[in-house]
């Protein structure tokens, strides 16, 4: 399995190649090289997955962790060292498949979507860099390697969101994304430091081994502000995950990040980067479960609230990409909830499996939704719903694939989203009824706003487009990925996921919980039906309802003023009371001491220049005198 390292290295080489000489290539050639390279990665990832799941992965009854490649990079002690390696276990192999598939689709799609853009080569170089970072993150053998790639993901997504760097809004969005996630990563880093300080290791394998024995024993009852240190460390680590996965209140960067090219949104903000936080918690799941169950409960509540919150906002947004962005936040929150309510081992670990399952299916249908939205935007040159409508007549492929994705995300049987969402709801149902009913309600909202989106784009009256801007179906480079992802969105739910992924790596069997499934089907169908009533034909009903809702509608449209709250916190509190004093200190004390040092240096340099006279007599005199002075000083002082 040594070749699995190639999956990570290939995108990096592509990045170097495209970044250094891409500018000299023709755009199409650069794009094709990038796409072929990603294709190679995908083939390798599928081979690894096949070999792992059907040949070497299963030892006895359980899935093993394989480390086919490891390089000790920095060694502090025998236990504490930073490695760069590849760790293959069910979730990392699954992620390899997801990332390479979606990334390949986005690579192909971008050949059409980005055609003629300036910086086409740079775009492909950055896509490769992002894929490299994300792949390195999921195969990390230790938490520090994960952190390194975590930051790389942040940097590459920053440059992709800010791809249209001449657009001020894109620049602002990229800065916002970087600063918010970076702020969360500060917590992640502190968490890592606390954790490794007590456990003396970074290794996932050692941390999670034997029911996370190392973590539970090594913290030995240390507390801080009434919470145990283990809780602090893991809560801080979760903060990093919450930042990347856009959990409330750190979600504010994700909607703005839609300023990036749409395929980038499909790759980063739907399928890969934003699930990094979920992956992190899943990777550390035994540690969370045994060492800090309170944090898991917190994750469940944060997730449930975020799911509801984002779904409510999604209902009122008019920019189709923003609807998808909030829907992403909501769906990722689903995965977080599933981890939060999960227990460990066997069928009790249903939530863990459900979370990974939903991550898997969501990656495909959400990427499909984004790419479909991109196709629509490509056709009508606008993000706003009011500029769309009746597009089913112009864009048949986009229409059908988009509908499939909407069915999947709404959780209609037998599309993939139904199965994974059912498992999450079942897990919540048995452990936290309150959370279950919240999620159930959110499922209804999801169905409603997705179908509102669908009907507004593809139906909603007989909107006519004047000849000049007549929408047309996208070229085959864009249509093919849509069709492939649609196939995935339909069938990926049929995989018996519990056979492959479980909290304790022991396969178990699940069945569809029909009571939960029928409840969720009822609410989903209701949601779709309401959307159909309101939006299938152009009408004034939605506006009237919005009128009646009054304040609630406005609050939702304004995203519950979270941006304003953060703006107030940073501008009035942080800037005035923290940054200003620091700035003063920097200007006067730090700069002052440096200027003083420079002044002293210049003066003394002038003062002693006579020493270098060029005369050998003086040199010898100085030599001997110096030696004698040193000797005498040592003797008599």
């Amino acid at each position: 399995m040594e070749y699995s390292i190639l999956i990570v290295i290939t995108p990096f080489l592509l990045f170097l190649f495209l970044g250094l000489v891409g500018g000299k290539l023709k755009p199409n050639v650069a794009g094709l090289i990038g796409t072929l390279g990603m294709g190679l990665c995908a083939v390798l990832a599928y081979t690894v997955a096949f070999q792992y799941f059907f040949n070497v992965g299963k030892i006895g009854e359980s899935w093993s962790q394989i480390v086919p490649f490891n390089f000790v990079w920095l060694k502090f002690t025998d236990l504490l060292h930073i490695d760069l390696g590849v760790l293959l276990d069910p979730i990392s192999v699954m992620m390899l498949v997801v990332i390479t598939t979606v990334s390949l689709m986005v690579h192909i799609y971008s050949l059409g979507y980005m055609k003629g853009e300036t910086g086409f080569q740079r775009y492909y170089a950055l896509l490769s860099l992002f894929s490299f970072s994300m792949l390195g993150l999921v195969v990390a053998t230790n938490i520090f390697q994960m952190y390194i790639f975590w930051e790389l993901v942040g940097v590459s997504s920053y440059s992709l969101i800010g791809f249209y760097y001449q657009k001020p809004s894109a620049v602002a969005a990229s800065k916002k994304a970087f600063i918010v996630t970076r702020f969360a990563d500060l917590g992640f880093l502190i968490g890592i430091l606390i954790l490794s300080f007590y456990t003396k290791t970074f290794d996932f394998a050692s941390l999670t081994a034997n029911d996370a024995e190392l973590v539970t024993t090594s913290f030995a009852g240390g507390t801080f502000m009434g919470l145990s240190l283990a809780t602090w460390a893991l809560a801080l680590i979760f903060m990093g995950g919450a930042g990347k996965s856009a959990m409330f209140p750190l979600h504010i960067w994700l909607p703005d990040a839609m300023e990036g090219p749409t395929p980038v949104s499909a790759l980063i903000h739907a399928a890969t980067m934003v699930v990094a936080g979920v992956f992190l918690v899943a990777r550390m799941f035994p540690v969370y479960f045994f060492a800090a169950p309170d944090v898991l409960t917190m994750i469940a509540y944060v997730g449930a609230f975020t799911a509801l919150f984002a779904a409510v906002i999604a209902i009122t947004q008019t920019d189709i990409k923003r609807v998808l962005a909030f829907s992403t936040i909501s769906q990722i929150a689903y995965m977080m909830v599933a981890l939060g309510v999960s227990e460990y081992g066997g069928h009790d670990g249903l939530g863990y499996m459900a979370s990974m399952f939903h991550l898997f299916t969501h990656a495909f249908f959400k990427a499909l939704l984004f790419l479909g939205a991109g196709s629509v935007i490509h056709a009508v040159h606008s993000n706003e719903m009011k500029d769309m409508g009746n597009l089913r007549k112009y864009m048949p492929i986009t229409n059908i694939t988009f509908a499939i994705a909407c069915l999947a995300i709404a959780g209609i049987i037998p599309f993939s989203g139904f199965f994974s969402k059912d498992e999450i709801l079942a897990a919540a149902y048995h452990n936290h009824p309150a959370i279950f009913w919240t999620l159930w309600f959110v499922a209804g909202l999801t169905a409603f706003y997705m179908w509102r989106l669908y009907y507004s784009i593809f139906w909603n009256g007989d909107k006519k487009y004047d000849g000049h801007h007549k929408p047309h179906e996208s070229p085959w480079t864009m249509a093919v990925p849509l069709v492939i992802l649609a196939v995935f969105s339909i069938f990926s739910g049929l995989i018996p996921f519990a056979n492959f992924i479980s909290s304790d790596n022991m396969p178990f069997y699940t069945h569809i919980d029909w009571k939960v499934a029928s409840l969720s089907l009822v609410v989903a169908v209701t949601g779709i039906f309401v959307a159909r009533m309101l939006y299938r034909k152009a009408s004034t009903k939605p506006a009237e309802i919005a009128q009646k809702m009054g304040g609630l509608y406005t609050a939702s449209l304004k995203k519950f003023y979270m941006d304003e709250v953060w703006g107030w916190v940073t501008k009035t509190v942080v800037f005035r009371y923290i940054c200003e004093p620091i700035k003063w200190f920097d200007r006067h004390i730090i700069d002052g001491s440096m200027n003083g040092l420079a002044w002293v240096t210049q003066k003394s340099s002038t003062a002693i220049r006579g020493l270098q006279s060029g005369q050998v007599q003086f040199y010898t005199w100085f030599f001997v005198a110096g030696t004698l002075v040193i000797a005498l000083l040592v003797l008599f002082l």
Partner: protein, 474 residues
């Protein structure tokens, strides 16, 4: 006579064989074959360098005056790499009209000084150390005066030989004190009988004076700038890196092996020497207009940094110091590769000649940039890691005040290193600026090695661990 002793002297013997081969080749190569002399020398010496990395036996020879261990082998390998890099830089200079007759001499004399440095590193007896040092010093005076038609070069040679003679007298004087106090010059025996009394201290200080000349520590440094400026650039590079490296290795062995029990005394001396050396080196470096003089003072202050590593009398200090030399080899020789390229092209060695170099020769400029970044200790470059390790070593010995002073000095050194960057990237070129040119293939290979060294050595953590794993006492 026990010939097995010679087996332990593998590298020395190999070097002598290379010298003899080159000697005969030089005599018998005339006319057409002469142009093959340079590549032959490079190939032979590269083979010797590579062979140095093969495993070697450890042990003492000749009744214990000569000692070899994996650590000394590593040190000699570092010196070999540095010498090879210097040779690679010297191609154009040696093939210029004035020098083309004397190629052979340059190689042979340089390699003989290298032999002396091998002996310094492997010495386990002060007499051996002294002989090694003399072998390494006297021929260097010839090299300094190698451009014999140039007044400055002759001046450099004279100054070097005078101060060198003085230094060796001072050192011998010190050794006689030590012999008087202990009755032996063998490191192993001395370490058993060394006592903290005035005679020994006098001996130690004078010995340090002798080696301080080679390391160009303040106050034994005044020759440095004049000699570095006057000597041919390749010789300056050799003096500033190889000669210094060998002196460092000899010093650290002598201090650690012999004077271990009086570490408080020499740590005090080293403390002051290092502070004065770094500070004075920095203060002078700021004012320089000539790039070779500039690097003379930069190398003085670098010698001070080396002492910071030595002050930690433990394995970590040893590792950090050796690592520092390795880093210094790549960083400093990269700069000299650029200097000699520019000098051979334009005949100029002023810093002003580098103004606007980025526009005409971007690649050379990047090499120079990496070099000064590494010397200044900017992260990713190996110089950052080497500085970090000597600071860590000093911290392990509790020398926090020293670290503070040295870090302040690092800020100053960044200032003058950035002056070079400023000249190359921002200043407008002079009227008679250096035009775009292509360096010879040898120099380019040398620069490539340096760049790879600067960028890779720090990140390949195995190198530090390897040095750390070597046992420095037999």
């Amino acid at each position: 006579m026990n010939f097995s002793n010679f087996l332990l002297m593998g590298q020395e013997t190999g070097l002598i064989v290379v010298v003899i081969i080159l000697f005969f080749c030089d005599i018998f190569s005339t006319g057409k074959t002469a142009k093959w002399f340079y590549p032959l020398s490079i190939i032979l010496f590269s083979i010797l360098t590579l062979w140095g990395f093969c495993p070697k036996p450890e042990g003492e020879a000749f009744g214990g005056i000569f000692v070899t261990s994996d650590m000394t082998v590593l040190m000699k390998n570092i010196l070999n790499i540095a010498t090879l890099l210097v040779f690679l830089q010297s191609y154009r200079w040696l093939n210029s009209k004035e020098q083309s007759e004397e190629k052979g001499e340059f190689f042979i004399i340089t390699l003989i000084t290298l032999l002396g440095m091998y002996l310094m590193v492997s010495a386990n007896n002060f007499m051996m150390l002294y002989i090694g040092m003399e072998t390494a010093s006297l021929p260097l005076a010839c090299l300094a005066a190698f451009n014999k038609h140039q007044e400055k070069s002759a001046e450099a040679g004279v100054k070097f030989i005078l101060i060198s003679a003085l230094a060796s007298a001072v050192m011998l004087f010190g050794l006689s004190f030590l012999y008087g106090a202990m009755g032996t010059l063998y490191f192993n025996d001395m370490s058993l009988t060394v006592l903290n009394n005035p005679v020994t201290i006098f001996g130690l200080v004078f010995f340090l004076g002798g080696l301080g000349f080679k390391l160009s520590l303040v106050p034994f440094h005044l020759w440095t700038a004049d000699v570095y400026e006057g000597a041919p650039t390749s010789v300056t590079a050799y003096l500033s890196v190889v000669s210094k490296g060998a002196a460092t290795f000899a010093l650290i062995f002598a201090l650690f092996k012999v004077f271990g029990s009086m570490d408080i005394v020499w740590q005090n001396i080293i403390w002051w020497l290092s502070v004065i050396t770094i500070t004075l080196g920095n203060l002078f470096a700021i004012r320089q207009k000539d790039i070779k003089r500039f690097f003379a003072f930069s190398s003085i202050s670098q010698a001070g940094y080396i002492l910071v590593g030595i002050i930690a009398y433990n394995a970590q200090g040893m590792t950090a110091t050796v690592y520092y030399i390795l880093a210094y080899v790549f960083s400093n020789l990269a700069a000299f590769a650029v200097i000699s390229a520019v000098e051979n092209q334009s005949g100029k060695t002023s810093i002003a000649a580098f103004n606007g170099l980025y526009k005409s020769n971007p690649k050379l400029t990047l090499v120079m940039m990496l070099s000064v970044f590494s010397l200044g200790g900017i992260p990713v470059c190996v110089g950052f890691f080497s500085k970090l390790f000597i600071f860590l070593a000093a911290a392990s010995a509790g020398q926090y005040v020293l670290i503070f002073i040295v870090v302040l000095n690092t800020v100053i050194s960044l200032y003058y290193y950035l002056l070079i960057i400023l000249a190359m990237f921002i200043k407008e070129p002079e009227e008679s600026a250096v035009a775009t040119f292509k360096s010879d293939i040898y120099n380019r290979i040398g620069m490539l090695i340096c760049v790879v060294g600067i960028l890779a050595v720090g990140l390949v953590s195995g190198i530090y661990s390897y040095i750390n794993s070597l046992n420095w006492v037999i």
